[in-house]
Symmetry: none
Subunit: 202 residues, 4 copies
Amino acid sequence: MARTALEKETRRQQLLDAATRVFARKGYLETSIDDIITEADVARGTFYLYFPGKKEIFLAIIDHYFELLTGLVNRLMSQEWPARLDRARLREHVLTWLRFFAQHRDLAKVIYREATSIDPQFEDRWNRLSETVKNFLIERVRTLQQSGVLRKTLDPRAWALFTEGIFHGAVCHYILQSDRPDLNWLAEQWVDLMLWGITPER
Amino acid sequence: MARTALEKETRRQQLLDAATRVFARKGYLETSIDDIITEADVARGTFYLYFPGKKEIFLAIIDHYFELLTGLVNRLMSQEWPARLDRARLREHVLTWLRFFAQHRDLAKVIYREATSIDPQFEDRWNRLSETVKNFLIERVRTLQQSGVLRKTLDPRAWALFTEGIFHGAVCHYILQSDRPDLNWLAEQWVDLMLWGITPER
Amino acid sequence: MARTALEKETRRQQLLDAATRVFARKGYLETSIDDIITEADVARGTFYLYFPGKKEIFLAIIDHYFELLTGLVNRLMSQEWPARLDRARLREHVLTWLRFFAQHRDLAKVIYREATSIDPQFEDRWNRLSETVKNFLIERVRTLQQSGVLRKTLDPRAWALFTEGIFHGAVCHYILQSDRPDLNWLAEQWVDLMLWGITPER
Amino acid sequence: MARTALEKETRRQQLLDAATRVFARKGYLETSIDDIITEADVARGTFYLYFPGKKEIFLAIIDHYFELLTGLVNRLMSQEWPARLDRARLREHVLTWLRFFAQHRDLAKVIYREATSIDPQFEDRWNRLSETVKNFLIERVRTLQQSGVLRKTLDPRAWALFTEGIFHGAVCHYILQSDRPDLNWLAEQWVDLMLWGITPER
DNA sequence: AATGAATGAGATTTCATTCAT
DNA sequence: CATGAATGAAATCTCATTCAT
């Protein structure tokens, strides 16, 4: 048992990491405080020194993911977008997303599986996360529609919704499953489907 | 309290209905046997006469949904498909799905929110459900590809995955939210996006 | 399920027999009303038509044993006793007792294992049973002491107590165990010990 | 309620003692976990911190008795035995046993009343205890028979069985009853009977 | 008289949280 | 800061008994 007085932030992170691993493995419901402190190799009381309870450490995990995602969104938003639809560029874009999920498997597993079902608070947090991403997409699509790159009949809100669903599905069924899919293939297929759907009428 | 002895199947259904309502309202985690028996207006012991526990009644609910869905899939599969891509027909098809979800709101809420997060058993059941639907979609797409109606570069498995994600997203974010969306608009948008993505190269 | 309206006494006996079998097999504690009615092939409600509850059917079983035992005691008491200590006669006497236990194995199992431990009422019933037998023994010993057949220093009450213990032990460890002992050997040994004690022949 | 953290073994013993008292008073069946924790002045959860359930604490009590008894047997076995049958010595021996039971009244009450009737596991434990004692007796008798101190026609196994029964009977009916008997008288009577049997002096 | 679904009191058990050390 | 024994509210579950049919 870690009897050393660690730096406050380090100990907190140690608990967060342990909790993320356990939540990913067993799910929120089946995870007990006991599991977390065992995984973190920390005493029961220590846990409550850093987090008020189980819900709160779960929320903290979501928040952490939220920050990572916000970072990604900001990075992508700050990138310029080519005036024309660039297939390779689009593919790269999608891959960035998929790789993000693949990199944070445990985190994604926790979030995507349960975030909405545990608690109204989580649901709220999750919805805001989801809105942020969708608003970004909607904005992009609007701009591209105005510059004539994308078909105008497309409703950006519907498209954002569909896209979110596709990613959610891809994450849940491919990234979370034990058989890791080829992200490139996934991205290629997505681009192919989307490209011909979003191009202006000919 | 209903002291009257009901037909075994009727009482079972009464419990299933009550449980579905409560699960939809409070979520699996927050629902107690007490909530269920209160909703069903039945004694504690009666519950255990019909189900061994909370997990089992939840599984039974999933199974029920599974049966309904299987019925829908079978109905749709037995329908002929026009030789050409018929926009109106396709739209109708999508609407059928959306209406199915809308009709079974409580059931869908329970399933889509939690089926994967509660228990490995539930996850398994859910995966089989998901496979059933995707296999149906894959089969359809293959047939249409062979008859030249759909573009051949499209990988049916990827398309099924994407489609499932779109529906999942639509169900979660529109049907389950309090602001009921216009299903027609949703269907129209879907057809529009898909049509031009799946049409053979021009 | 026995739907036929049986004679009241027959049905009662059917239940008693079934209960005795189950109690002997599983013990009072582990036996449920369900076990009894299953064994008797009778509906739940029928049981309560004949007995007020589980305790009462157990008491009825003890009472039945009590009657059988009383019968045995009366038969033995009505027998004359030889003026001198007749080894063969004594052996026969003991065998009669042992055979009685062997004949009513299930009943004995139930009584000897649990009669004292379940309920004050049972304990009381058991004590009265025990007193009956011991009083019979004490009476016999007193008579024989007066006629000089038995040693006068022997306290009849102590002897009755010891004898009861020996029989109890023999019943519990030999008759109730799966390896049925030779009753003749048991009786022979008992007579030998009682007649002469453990000291070598003089 | 004792909020003080005790040494693990102390708290365990506290629970065992409380449970023994309650079991002795009310019997296994009538005793609830609630009774035990009330008697021990400990919270519900604390009980489950030390024992998995009611059965297990009962088993632990039997085990404790087993250890005490083993100690007694070992003490007695290590004693030398006089070459000739020493009446006073024998009497002392028997008194040691009786005093042991009298000293551990509660424990004996629990064990002798119920050990065999609660659970197959208990029965097993009890049988092993019984075998230990009987094997000790058998060994003693064999040795004494070889040195000609005891009559050779006596079967040591039968004698051990009878002796166990006598003690069991004495314990159950005298020590467990409210009217405490005179242990000296009991021992005297036992020695008298064993030494010479029931036949008048020659 | 017979049935068996329904009952609910009371038992067991869990586990997030507290707090004396 | 760290610890982990102790807590107890709240959950699950059992089963002897009732009662409408």
